[in-house]
Amino acid sequence: MFVSLLLVLLIGAIAWAGSAAGFASLFGVALPYLAAAVFVVGMIRRMVYWAKSPVPFRIPTTGGQEQSLDFIRQAKIDCPGTQAGVFARMFLEVCLFRSLFRNTEADARAGLPANSGPGSVYYSSKWLWCFALLFHYCFLLVFLRHFRFFAEPTPQWVTWLETLDGLMQIGAPRFFMTGGILLAALLFLLGRRVFNGRLRCISLVNDYFPLWLLLGIVCTGICLRYFDKTEIAMVKIFIMGVTQFSPVSAEGIAPLFFVHVALVSTLLLYFPFSKLTHMAGVFFSPTRNAANDSRRVRHINPWNPPKQYFTYAEYEDAYRDVMAEAGLPLEKEPDRPAG
């Protein structure tokens, strides 16, 4: 945990020092270009790699009754038998994180009345689902809001988003709720790894690093907007230079901005090689995207070698004369009668 925190702080410090020392265009132009290229190409390579992997069997994780006799009711979404059911399942999974909604917690409790003593209890736990959903949607909205820096004129939908996001009209610049919720959700996702003993036991550097990295991005972003401001008109001129491939001088922009950009670039660079590929991976997950129809449809293993068939017609062609000699019945008599 501390290793990954130090790593993120180190990246931030390098970006700060580098941009303060005059290498701003390195962190503001070269690094984002590299990161965007690595992100897009890396993710496409990943997806092609997954798509090339054969899935010889249907291995959906089932959460209900599979399709059976007519009078047995099927769980059409949790154990889909058709493509439509799979579509509904994938839609709910991708958009609403249904599998997290079904999350249950197991706990050992002392003094259970039913057991008249200690025993285990299972209960629905929606916290992870709630904060994961908040995190992902707020992150999406924050990303979309940034399009005000990418395009001139600012698209109208960005302004609508900002109006909704800043509906509370707190302070100036207006407080965007998604930013605050994003920070809270990330702190929860980090907190559950730190304070839940079982989870802490299975958490590795590659679990903590993206969380610290995202926290770094969110904190620098919030800082740039509310506390240690840099002039956003200059930032827009700079970013428009980057998105239009004609970079301009980074003069007059605070180093904190380049820390923000460097951390985002690190995220993009890290993305295709990390667990964050679940962004694309969820669509390739055979435990989710396959219909449970292994009893109705024949699935042929794609890496089976091609079969060497020897049909009866070919067999007869090969041994006709011998068979005729032996007096065996033939479908087609030989051209000349057997001597």
């Binding site: 054969p54 990418f150 004129p153 600012t154 840099t230 998105t243």
Partner: protein, 126 residues
Amino acid sequence: MYNAKAVIAGILVFAVLGTAPFWAGMTGKEYRSTGIIPPKDEKSCIENAEFMRAEHMRLLNEWRDEALRGENRVYAASGGKKWNISLQNTCLKCHSNHEEFCDRCHTANSVYPYCWTCHILPGESK
């Protein structure tokens, strides 16, 4: 590749969305300068230019609270000079052209402050 049609469609969608900032930039106009026209007859604002560029919104917010909630109409600038806390009478005296000053940056950066829900725009009839 298995399910090639769906996978290629997905990859195309990803490639377009993943590079969306560049598409947005390339399809839009250029943005090389803010194009604001500062007041001609006045050389300095109440604080220095860097501070004003970055922090004017916070200053205005504090001014609103000072004037309306704290009933304090005097602002001591860092140079020691005292200013009357008033958007209409202090700020807009010099920055009288709203379109050439405020709106140039605000519109480009999608900033729509709610100053003008209470205040009257300079030059606008009542």
